[in-house]
């Protein structure tokens, strides 16, 4: 911060200004006190309040996370269900090949490829940046495809597990159509493991998709944290880790609550 030739007195003055001369427990106490007031400190390099930086960056991360989730769900559910109910057919084979490709292709390659096609050849989308709804499509596709690949495999195996259960046979015997049987009965019972995975994936997306954010110059939390680590901007790194941890906990808590909504058998009951 002060350069290599800084005088010892200047270094000491900076230590005092940052509160680094205090004992560790006092520093921690001060930090927690400020945290209660939503004061995350200021960036060492830019001098801006970290809360402001986060408030500026977080909407971009949420936007990208939700966009990618929508892409993933739109792709994963039809693919997973189709490959389960048409097991060992060409559809199943194709869907699972897509899933394999989706998991295997890294985002730093897929991103520029999508840019080449979507922006340079077709001219439909902006190359990068966060400038309007169209600019969300390529990064959301990049992130969502990999997510869809994993999700579709999970949906397939979960549906395959329940598809031979008695209640499915009963539903078919009642005369329900295949689609109704799958959507109303099979899918709902297969949703628990899918929701677990979805929760984990959404948690990591909201914590910042570093590579995709970097490729698409998307101003989110992930790229903020990487920049802060590279610059040794410790207050930002500290705040980012705290924020990411809270998001993970929050999303996982939401997932647990969703379990109870999806499956009445695991609702919390009063012991009495």
């Amino acid at each position: 911060m002060l350069g290599e030739t800084a005088h010892a007195t200047d270094k000491e003055s900076l230590r005092q200004a940052l509160g680094l001369h205090l004992p560790i427990h006092s520093q921690l106490l001060n930090y927690l006190q400020r945290l209660i007031q939503f004061d995350l400190g200021t960036s060492i390099h830019s001098g801006r309040a970290i809360t402001d930086i986060f408030l500026e960056r977080f909407p971009a991360t949420v936007e990208l996370g939700l966009g990618a989730t929508i892409v993933a769900l739109t792709l994963a559910f039809p693919l997973g269900i189709l490959s389960a109910i048409r097991q060992k057919t060409l559809i199943d084979f194709s869907a699972m090949t897509f899933a394999l490709a989706g998991v295997s292709i890294p985002n730093f390659w897929l991103g520029p490829m999508l840019i080449m096609v979507g922006s340079l050849w077709l001219g439909w989308f902006p190359v990068s940046g966060r400038d309007g709804v169209l600019s969300l499509i390529l990064p959301a596709l990049t992130l969502g495809t990999a997510m869809a690949a994993i999700l579709s495999r999970m949906i397939r195996s979960a549906v395959l597990e329940v598809i031979h259960e008695d209640y499915i046979r009963t539903a078919q015997a009642k005369g329900l159509t295949e689609s109704r049987t799958i959507i109303r009965h099979a899918l709902r019972n297969a949703m628990l493991p899918v929701m677990t995975l979805l929760g984990l994936q959404l948690g990591s997306l909201l914590s910042g998709a570093v590579i995709t954010e970097t490729v698409f110059a998307w101003p989110g939390i992930g790229s903020l944290m990487i920049e802060a680590i590279q610059q040794r901007d410790y207050p930002i790194v500290q705040a980012a880790i705290l924020c990411i941890s809270l998001i993970y906990i929050g999303v996982n808590l939401l997932t647990d609550i969703l379990y109870a909504w999806l499956d009445p058998r695991i609702r919390i009951r009063d012991a009495s």
Partner: protein, 514 residues
């Protein structure tokens, strides 16, 4: 039932069409009156009292006027002010009559100069520039247009230290957040920062808007230029992209010899690389011309000294270390290393993919003469931290933006071993110290130049660094962009005269302009 499902499908299709048209309708269009400049790095701080990174420094040059600037040979020249040396420790600066007013209206006066430098010199403000300027003992203003600097000791290079942008004394007093909203008296005024990837500036004389966009990935930056979403970019591209872009008919490329000095540094207290013969062997083992041709695509020039020949102290003729593997092997044998007992070196570098590639090439070339190197790559912060703390045997790095020859004292004088300076390899050499001291004490510029040139010849013999190359500056723009001149230090001053010619606007792809 069939009817119901068909209706549902039709409804779904309708919703999809509405959503699609909504998305297309919502997208913002980019106005065509803005010139867009692609940046690899974010300007960390647009307050010149605190900015230290290259991008901030280059943008701050546009936003703030400064007392002194540099000419093509890096000699200080008047910018906001001319100066006279009243005594060895007193300089008087006269502000030029034709200076710009501050962007918020008031005229820039000597009080503003005084307030800016006094703020930096106040230890409570923790400016990273304080140590360079700490020889200033007092600043006095005799009139609105004149300011005197008193020094604690004579320094003939003093005017070249006064390159920090001048801020308004009133705004400093009111603690204006310059890092959020810069206000200077430079040729550009700050407009806004819509998010952390975009900065909008306006060129004052013709009200031309500029948008600086941060696009960290070099491939994406290139694609954005090809798609017409940015108009120009400068540097920070892998060399292999430059020949690719040269084939594209819609872009133009300007190149200019640069002054960023790349080198191999050594821990001179180390039993292996501390030996002069080993460093000489390394210098002879590296085939720089092949690396420059095949890896850099001829966008670099071999370096033999810290300053290029265009610098006022740059030596024009130095006998370089030729690529001579046989000589390298002989030197290694003289140093006591054989095939059975080879020299083993740990080589530290950053995780930058291009730097890593260079490191593996150097590793291979050194292996050809019998030097075994193991590469240790770390993220920039860790790597640079290790270098500053002296935790290395050999490393590669570059000095960027060097202007004044006081770098020799900072990097090679025995008084500058960290934490006093950047003599990180702990180079202790009486002749080097003597030459640096002599050069600093003399006030005669010609004499100074001669001593610094002798010093650089001596450093090439002593080899505390193995000089590698100066990388070129490259400016790439759409064909419609005219009037940009690349500077030798990579600053963005070319934006003062850049224009987009209207005749080429029509030939741009439909999606880029609306």
């Amino acid at each position: 039932m069939i009817h119901h499902s068909r209706t549902t499908r039709q409804l779904q299709l309708l919703v999809f069409l509405i959503l699609t048209s909504f998305i297309v309708g919502c997208s913002e269009t980019q106005p065509n009156n803005v010139l867009r400049f692609g940046l690899a790095n974010r300007p960390t701080n647009l307050d010149p009292r605190f900015a230290t990174d290259a991008t901030s420094a280059r943008m701050n040059r546009l936003l703030y006027a400064r007392l002194v600037d540099f000419d093509e040979t890096a000699q200080p020249i008047p910018s906001l002010a001319t100066w006279e040396q009243i005594s060895p420790t007193q300089y008087r600066f006269h502000l030029q009559d034709n200076r710009q007013t501050f962007h918020h209206g008031p005229k820039l006066t000597s009080n503003d100069v005084k307030a800016t430098y006094e703020f930096i010199l106040n230890p409570d403000n923790q400016s990273p520039h304080r140590s360079t300027l700490s020889l200033i003992s007092e600043i006095q203003t005799s009139s609105n247009d004149s300011v005197d600097f008193y020094l604690s000791h004579p320094d003939g290079l003093f005017p070249s230290y006064l390159v920090i942008g001048i801020l308004s004394a009133n705004l400093i007093h009111n603690q204006h957040p310059f890092h959020e909203h810069p206000i200077g008296s430079g040729p550009f005024t700050f407009v806004d920062r819509p998010d952390d990837t975009r900065w909008r500036l306006m060129r004052i004389f013709d009200e031309q808007l500029f948008e600086f966009l941060r696009i960290p990935d070099p491939t994406v930056r290139t694609l954005k230029l090809l798609a017409g979403e940015i108009d120009m970019l400068q540097n920070d591209l892998p060399p292999e992209l430059i020949p690719y872009l040269a084939k594209e008919h819609m872009v133009q490329i300007q190149r200019r010899a640069g002054s960023n000095f790349s080198y191999l540094g050594f821990n001179l207290q180390d039993p292996v690389v501390g030996k002069h013969e080993v460093r000489q062997a390394i210098a002879h083992a590296i085939d720089r011309s092949s690396i420059i041709h095949y890896v850099f695509g001829d966008t670099a020039h071999p370096a033999n000294a810290l300053f290029p020949p265009t610098h006022w102290t740059g030596p024009s003729t130095l006998s370089e270390y030729s690529y001579d593997p046989q000589q390298a092997r002989t030197l290694l044998r003289q140093a006591g290393f054989t095939d059975m007992h080879p020299a083993q070196i740990n080589y530290k570098t950053s995780t930058d993919p291009f730097r890593l590639r260079l490191a593996t090439i150097l590793q291979h070339q050194l292996a050809q003469v019998g030097i075994r190197t193991s590469i240790h790559s770390h993220d920039w912060g860790t790597f640079y931290g290790d270098i500053k703390a002296g935790r290395f045997q050999m490393y590669s790095l570059a000095w960027v933006g060097l202007k004044t020859p006081n770098i020799f004292h900072y990097a090679f004088h025995s008084d500058s071993i960290p934490p006093q300076g950047a003599n990180r390899g702990k180079f202790v050499d009486d002749r080097t110290d003597l030459l640096i001291d002599q050069a600093q004490s003399t006030q005669n510029i010609q004499e100074k130049r001669d001593i610094y040139q002798r010093l650089q010849t001596h450093l090439l013999e002593a080899l505390p660094y193995v000089p590698l190359w100066f990388e070129e500056h490259v400016f790439i723009a759409r064909r419609s962009i005219t009037g940009y001149t690349l500077s030798n230090d990579g600053n963005y001053d070319g934006l003062l005269s850049v224009q987009r010619t209207s005749s080429n606007l029509t030939s741009q792809p439909e999606h880029e302009e609306h």
